[in-house]
């Protein structure tokens, strides 16, 4: 449900700004945040297919050709799962989380730009990464808050 709301907010904000600036990938941030507190394989599988569904719907709305964000979202989630699981819980630091969130913002829009666009799109892409930073910082704040909460509850 949270992911659907985030997807709709991302779409809403994109319509609101009328294509004049790129909106951070809120859907992917939510997905990655959810995954970071999970150790269940079923949740991972749901995340892979949620990324797929979110990507295809985004492609149909904003790219016109399904596959670009679909592929990027799935890649980003797989990278997250593989790295997050390969690192022991002691290594799940804020820095690693930040890097993985950045990957979740960089990978999905990268494919359409690599395949379709010219130098102007690269400027938009870099701007999007800058605009993503506040959203990433908010997600990191939530991540640390949740860790604190878990420590207090002795989990």
């Amino acid at each position: 449900m949270l992911l659907i709301i985030l997807w709709l907010i991302q779409d809403f904000l994109t319509v609101l700004n009328g294509g004049e600036m790129h909106i951070p990938g809120l859907f992917m941030l939510g997905l990655v945040y959810n995954l970071s507190f999970n150790d269940s394989s079923d949740v991972n599988l749901r995340a892979i297919w949620s990324a797929f569904a979110g990507g295809i719907l985004w492609d149909l709305r904003w790219i016109g050709i399904p596959g670009f964000f679909t592929l990027g979202n799935v890649c980003a989630v797989l990278i997250f799962i593989k790295i997050w699981e390969a690192v022991p819980p002691q290594g799940h630091t804020g820095f690693l989380f930040f890097i993985l969130m950045e990957i979740s913002q960089i990978v999905p829009p990268l494919l359409p730009i690599l395949i379709l666009a010219g130098s102007t799109a690269w400027n938009f892409f870099l701007l999007q990464q800058v605009y993503s930073l506040p959203a990433i910082l908010v997600t990191m704040y939530l991540f640390f808050k949740k860790i604190q909460q878990n420590l207090t509850q002795g989990r």
């Binding site: 779409d11 599988l45 892979i48 016109g64 050709i65 596959g67 679909t70 799935v74 989630v77």
Partner: protein, 256 residues
């Protein structure tokens, strides 16, 4: 053991999702069905997006007001009306038939809802359709210049072909010399004027507009200016590059 099985499952699902995405990417660009799905999805999202459209329109209107744009718009409309009258007078003088009702200074505005990278110079989707009196063949404008024409219409949205599209071919006239030619896009962002007899004194900066010969588009719609001669063939005809009146990389709305 369980961990290995889970990892394998994740890997299998991940690969399946990747392959499916690649498959979709491979087959969908050429499918007309995708365009219908895109339209349908756009129509479904119209409801949750509607407040954003309203908010954006309100904001734009406020910004326009704050910059005193309204007075400028009024001046533009006045100048367009004057231009229309002059155009009609000129047409009468040189004996060309022109339809004054076709040169409307008060056009409605539609938002560009989609411009796909694969057909960047060919077509756009606008957020107005049948219910907004859009019909196939209707010309669309930006800043008073011809931008393209509507190629297909659905209830709440339409697709329009741009003047930079290779399949957009319309008769045009050089206003200063009255030479007739054909406007065609090259699919790469340029607009060309073809079949103009060579050596007729066509110069850079001369204005080009639609001609009255057998097309759905009315005559006299401004297109742009001559930017230079590209080639002069052995058949006695020259091709000119046109500088469109519309900045093809900077329009978020269109008029119709």
């Amino acid at each position: 053991m369980d961990s290995t099985r889970n990892t394998t499952r994740e890997l299998v699902h991940g690969l399946a999702a990747l392959i499916l995405a690649l498959f979709l990417l491979g087959i969908s660009s050429g499918l007309g069905l995708v365009k219908n799905i895109v339209d349908l999805w756009g129509a479904l999202l119209f409801i949750p997006e509607y407040p954003a459209v309203i908010m954006r329109d309100v904001f734009l209107e406020w910004r326009s007001w704050s910059r005193d744009k309204n007075s400028l718009n009024a001046e533009v409309i006045k100048l367009r009306e004057e231009n229309s009258r002059l155009r009609i007078d000129l047409a009468k003088l040189i004996g060309e038939k022109i339809y004054s009702e076709d040169i409307k200074p008060d056009r409605k505005t539609a938002r560009v809802a989609l411009r796909t990278p694969m057909s960047w110079w060919n077509e756009i989707r606008i957020d107005k359709g049948e219910i907004d009196s859009i019909s196939q063949g209707l010309p669309i404008f930006y800043n008073g210049y011809l931008l393209g024409r509507v190629s297909s219409v659905s209830t709440m949205s339409s697709w329009a072909e741009l003047i930079t599209s290779p399949s957009f071919m319309i008769p045009a006239v050089i206003e200063e010399t009255r030479e007739l030619g054909v406007i065609v896009g090259d699919g790469g962002g340029s607009v060309l004027l073809r079949y103009i007899p060579a050596g007729r004194g066509v110069k850079t900066g001369m204005r080009v507009s639609t001609a009255m010969i057998g097309e759905q588009l009315p005559p006299g719609l401004p297109i742009g200016k001559i930017a230079g001669e590209i080639s002069s063939g052995s058949d006695g005809y020259a091709t000119y590059k046109i500088e469109p009146g519309v900045d093809m990389s900077k329009f978020y709305t269109v008029n119709y």
